[in-house]
Amino acid sequence: MRCPRCQFENIPGQDRCLRCGSILDVKNAVIDIHPPRMPPWKGPMRMVLRWLRLQRTIPEAVPRPRVPDFLKIMSEHALFGCILSIIPGLAHYVDGRFREVRWFVLVWFLSLTAGIFIYGSNPGLLLLGLAVGIHSWIAYNYAFSKELNEPSEKIRTLIVMLFVLGIIYTGIRNTVFRGFVFGYADMTIPYQNIKAGDLLLARRGLTQAAKLNRGDIVLAPVAGDIYGGYGHQGQALRQGPIMASEIVGLTGEQVEIVNSSFVVDGKTLDAKKYPVPEWLRGNNIGPISVPDASFFVSTVYNVNGHGVVLNAGLVGQACMVRSYDIEAKAVIRWFPLARRGFLKEGE
């Protein structure tokens, strides 16, 4: 039997063509004439999927924007297109293909803005990482996807893009945001409305330009953890991480800790303003003299080790910070946002 569609000669008795699948004898075939119907619950789901598909629809004739000729020439070359993509979406825009990446550019912008807004915190770093990833994808999408066919080549290119953009973003951070540094508060200071875990924004220039006062919160490298048998043997403590500390004693002053309060030159300080950290409470220590170009700071250490003997020598060594080691002066409670605000000036 000959197929009416493809003219293939089929074996007698066949219902459908072996080559193209057409019905051979239409008049005698048993044909289902009731069309399939869509269950109502599928409607909304399909609508969403359809909307997403339509977002990817590329118009046939997009008028190319008016841009200088050299940009157009650059955008046609993969490598230069990649360079143009340092501003996300610029190469696409020049090429009249911005619609392809418009949502990515929007998400990049939002994550970058949010990342800068809460910069220094873990979510902020995550958002900035996301921004770098999206940025590299936009550049990758424009410049390389057309020319590279092997998956391994594409992956290598993506990794290189991420690396290059990581350097660019780090460079921006070290130039534009050079004067700013962040640190987490490890102790609660009710007077400054600081709670342990708050992220503080500090400025570097202030430690040189302004004289540091008692009550200022500074970011400084403090001594490392004190464990039994280490600090009290007269050895120098390890250089520890940068921590937020409160200046209690200035150069030339005598600092004592009496009944869980700081006493400076015989005058007891307000415990709300100058709280004694947990590890020093219950001990009467001092007096400790603050040497030249140094400050006595109050901060938190890990003293859970056994055999630690808290004496004036050890506390003096742990709490003393040289003025040139001070990284920055904290000025704003940055995160959590509910308690965001400027810190009060010291005395």
Binding site: R37, R46, R53
Partner: protein
Amino acid sequence: MRRFSRLEFGDKGDGGAAKPAPDGEEMRNAEYFQKQALRYQLAGDFELALRNYSRSLEKNSVFYPGWVGQVLMLIELGEYKEAAVWVDKALEMFPEHPELLAAKAVACARDGRMEKAIVYSDNSIAKDNVTSAVWLARAEVLLNRKSNIAQNCISKALSIAGEDGAMVKLQAGRLLNQKGDYAAALQYLRTASDELPKSALVWYELGFAQARLGRPEAAISFEQALKFHPTWPPAEEALRKFENRGFFTRLFGR
């Protein structure tokens, strides 16, 4: 009347012209149900139109307009995936038929599958005996891609429409309404309303375009639609919305 015209020869198909029954009533063959389907289609009741197309196929399973009508009604009901499946089935019987390929292109385009839509549209337009439905489908696909030549496809569809001119104008108007070109849609729908004055769908679409352009005649058009299809929810809703439009909408016309 010929001598043997009333003899039965065991023909399964009723595909011939509708013959009057002995008592004068029209015979309920495939054409009859097709006409019924078209009536419901023009009244905007696509569900009933689909059922009538199915009934026309019950009478004659190789009745081509029945298959095309079913596919088009599925598209009108928003069941694009099902329409695409049904086109494939119809294509088994009517291979490479340009109208079926065009219907598949429309189903794909409305489902957001533009690459497939353009392929089917290209395929349909390359065939011989291209009808106005093929050109309208082409126009829809091109309008989705924001192409400037879609209007030329509509003009082409109208030029080859012949007796179906009113239907083509209605479809063109509906298409342009969907794509937001209300001024162009209004032109087609006005002439369509002259040629199909009893179609609720034409009046509804005309009212829709007028309402979007801020024309007060929209209310009359919706009322006309309700006159021919009473208690039609979309027309009632559109009329209610138009009459309750806000101050600024009335002031600025749209």
